[in-house]
């Protein structure tokens, strides 16, 4: 993204204009798009350097880096849009190591014919989400693909951050006896997206939980630096995140269904469609595994933060060479929460 300060005689018509192939062509049209849209909202000293790369000083210590491609339909949904999601997704992946996220890069792949007004809405929302998360978008890229070759816009973000001293969080550190905590209700994001798709005609009051979790993580590790594992249960939901941790650590898990927070509206929507909320995506929740002695302190720290008000201890880590995630059902039986097979598909009857 070049940030040369040029004056363009005719300003971009953001209200009525559309992306065309020239906006990705590397010429003047692209420079104008960057100048009048991206730079305007993302403005920071790194971008203003106007180079093909951002140069910045790093603190001593361990750095984290993560990347996440965002494709979502619809682009705008209750509680967020692809722009805010592209910030939250990567900030959260960085934060799940315990790191403080610092900078992001953003790569846009935009479909020819995409309305500039929608692009502005997305860029604005990204800028706001970045500001709220206290990260700067220091580098970017724009490509335009022909009509029909994309789905509006795809955004890939890369994030870097620095891990504070004394923090050792990793998916392979869960140990038998550890407690499993979630930071709030599950399935809100996935159900919101499903209910906003055109072909599903039911309304819900649910909104996506999309949020940056670095503040919640900071509060948590401040209270309990001994946290063993953190993960954000995005695609595949809670069941998948816990299976990953169980597999990485070579342990089992035993959950209690009644302890797992799920909103009644989410449960009802899932019931209707034959889906399981424990396999549905979240974008503003985390799972924490910590030693039993610290579980209450961790729970209190999460609950004291607005994004963790509904946090709950949902089970514990067990010794199990088969790495099974099991759940005592509300009903009194026992159920294995297996890896998700393919996509969840609605049932016929």
């Amino acid at each position: 993204m070049s940030a040369a300060v040029r004056r363009f005689p005719v300003r971009l018509d953001i209200r009525r204009g559309f992306i065309d192939m020239s906006h990705g062509g590397g010429g003047r049209a692209m420079a104008q798009l960057i100048d009048e849209l991206f730079l305007k909202y993302f403005d920071n000293p790194y971008l203003r350097q106007g180079n093909d790369q951002a140069t910045f000083a790093v603190e001593a210590g361990r750095m984290v880096m993560s990347v996440d491609g965002h494709v979502i339909s619809p682009l705008f949904f209750p509680g967020g849009d692809i722009g805010s999601l592209a910030v939250h997704g990567t900030v959260n992946d960085v934060a799940m190591s315990g790191a403080k996220p610092l900078h992001l890069s953003a790569g846009f792949i935009i479909e020819e014919g995409f309305p500039l007004s929608d692009l502005e809405r997305i860029v604005k929302s990204m800028a706001e989400a970045a500001r709220d998360a206290d990260v700067t978008i220091v580098a970017g890229d724009t490509k335009v693909v022909e009509r029909g070759s994309g789905d509006g816009v795809f955004i890939t973000t890369t994030g870097i951050g620095v891990i504070p001293d004394g923090i050792e969080i990793s998916g392979d550190r869960a140990a038998p006896g550890d407690q499993v905590i979630v930071s709030g209700t599950l399935g809100d994001h996935g159900v919101t997206i499903m209910s906003s798709r055109e072909n599903l005609t039911f309304d819900t009051s649910i909104t996506s939980d999309s949020a940056s979790l670095h503040g919640l993580v900071a509060a948590l590790i401040d209270a309990v630096p001994e946290v063993h594992c953190l993960r954000d249960p995005t695609r595949g939901g809670l069941a998948t995140a816990l299976n990953e941790i169980a597999f990485q650590s070579g342990v089992g898990m035993s959950l209690t269904e009644t302890a797992i927070p799920v909103r009644p509206a989410v449960n009802a929507a899932c019931e209707l469609l034959g889906l399981d909320p424990l396999y549905i995506a979240n974008e503003g929740k985390l799972v924490c595994v910590c030693p039993p002695e610290q579980a209450e302190a961790a729970l209190a720290a999460l609950r004291a933060h607005p994004l963790g008000a509904n946090a709950a201890i949902i089970g514990e880590v067990t010794k199990d060479p088969n790495s099974l995630v099991q759940m005592k059902t509300d009903f009194g039986g026992n159920r294995v929460l297996d890896w998700l097979s393919g996509e969840q598909l609605p049932r016929i009857c």
């Binding site: 449960n267 099991q326 059902t329 009903f331 159920r335 294995v336 297996d338 097979s341 598909l345 016929i348």
Partner: protein, 382 residues
């Protein structure tokens, strides 16, 4: 969740567990077939088997519409999407069902076929209205539960003269299939499959009522208890079946009284009768050709019948070698008896249809039951 949680209560479950343990005669076995995939799903999802005494077991039946659909019909649908270039509207479950030669509608979709997942027949009609220059075919599948919705779609299409819309009809009938299982050699002669009683379908019975089961309860002397799809429904119905068997009764009883009546939904039945005829026979995966077990679209709706509108030849496709779906669907084998199960046949790569739908016996075993043994072992170790 209102009207749902009430039927999943643990305190009631443990009371029923005690009542079943007390009622079940330890000197005999109770092999109860749940016809419907919905029951199979509930049994695994809530761990109902854990609450049953050892001599009460569930035999999983063929009541999953996706599972009993013969491969040839998937091949027909693939041809419609690929050769005839129609917009093929399907229910989600069908996407992964294997056709012959390792194809599936999901693969057809990926390679450019216009296959769209819909949630109701109304969505399919809307797609036809929105695409007047394209042929839109709705792949109708399901037991009596989903048939009325297809009937409504056909009637609406006729009323609106929506001539680019048609239905590929695969609706099948429950009583004919249950009777076929009871007539099968394994059950009748060889005696390798013992079925002592049936859980009657829940949603299906809301449409057809409890009356259609009376004939074979009497004729084959097997008790039938129509049961809802919630875990407490299944447990209560199991208790009712056990009591009938203890008393030597073979009646049709209705546990699912909150929905099912003896006569069923007569408005829906009338609508179905106006729109469909009985097929003389229809192929079921696992059961073969079953007489009078499926519906065809009436001649007066032939404009909207994909089988008259397009060339839909009868295709006899054989199942993958070694696949036990046919015997599993008849209750003659368990998923774990199949050599392919969890070796090459998994939900990610299903070889047979029982692995596709979450209601299929193999998929349910794979997701919830596969680890049961190792799970209880590791629990004991912990």
């Amino acid at each position: 969740m209102k009207y749902v949680d009430e039927f999943r209560r643990q305190d009631v479950a443990s009371r029923l567990r005690d009542a079943i343990a007390e009622a079940a005669d330890t000197d005999r076995q109770y092999r109860l077939m749940e016809f419907c995939g919905g029951h199979t799903h509930a049994i695994f999802r809530y761990g109902v088997q854990d609450l049953m005494p050892d001599n009460v077991s569930f035999v999983h039946g063929p009541g999953c519409p996706v599972c009993v659909l013969p491969m040839g019909r998937i091949d027909n649908a693939i041809k419609l999407a690929v050769d005839d270039g129609v917009i093929l509207c399907i229910y989600g479950d069908l996407l992964r069902v294997p056709g012959s030669g390792r194809t599936s509608l999901m693969k057809v979709k990926a390679s450019g076929g216009d296959v769209r997942m819909v949630y109701s027949t109304q969505d399919a009609l809307q797609i036809a209205r929105d695409n007047p220059t394209r042929e839109v075919v709705f792949f109708a599948i399901g037991f009596e539960t989903t048939t009325p919705a297809t009937a409504v779609a056909l009637q609406l299409a006729r009323r609106e003269r929506l001539e680019n819309f048609s239905v590929f009809c695969n609706h099948v009938l429950t009583p004919a299939a249950i009777q076929n299982i009871l007539e099968s050699p394994e059950v009748r002669r060889i005696g390798s499959v013992q079925i002592d009683g049936f859980f009657g379908p829940s949603h299906v019975s809301s449409i057809i009522g409890s009356q259609p089961y009376e004939f074979f309860a009497r004729e084959y002397q097997k008790p039938v208890v129509i049961a809802g799809f919630e875990p407490l429904d299944v447990m209560q119905a199991a208790l009712m079946l056990i009591r009938q068997l203890n008393d030597g009764r073979f009646e049709v009883e209705n546990q699912y009284t909150r929905v099912v009546t003896r006569e069923g939904n007569q408005k829906a039945q009338k609508l179905v009768a106006e729109t469909f005829d009985l097929r003389r026979e229809f192929e079921w995966r696992g059961l073969g050709l079953v007489p009078y077990s499926a519906l065809a679209i009436k001649p007066e709706f032939s404009t909207w019948d994909a089988e008259t509108r397009f060339d839909v030849p009868p295709v006899t496709a054989s199942d993958v070698k070694g696949c036990e779906c046919p015997s599993i669907l008849r209750g003659a084998a368990r998923p774990t008896d199949c050599r392919l199960f969890d070796v090459v046949c998994t939900p990610e790569n299903p070889m047979g249809s029982c692995m596709v739908s979450s209601e299929g016996a193999c998929a349910a075993y794979y997701s919830y039951g596969r680890f049961r043994q190792s799970a209880s072992k590791s629990e004991a170790a912990a």
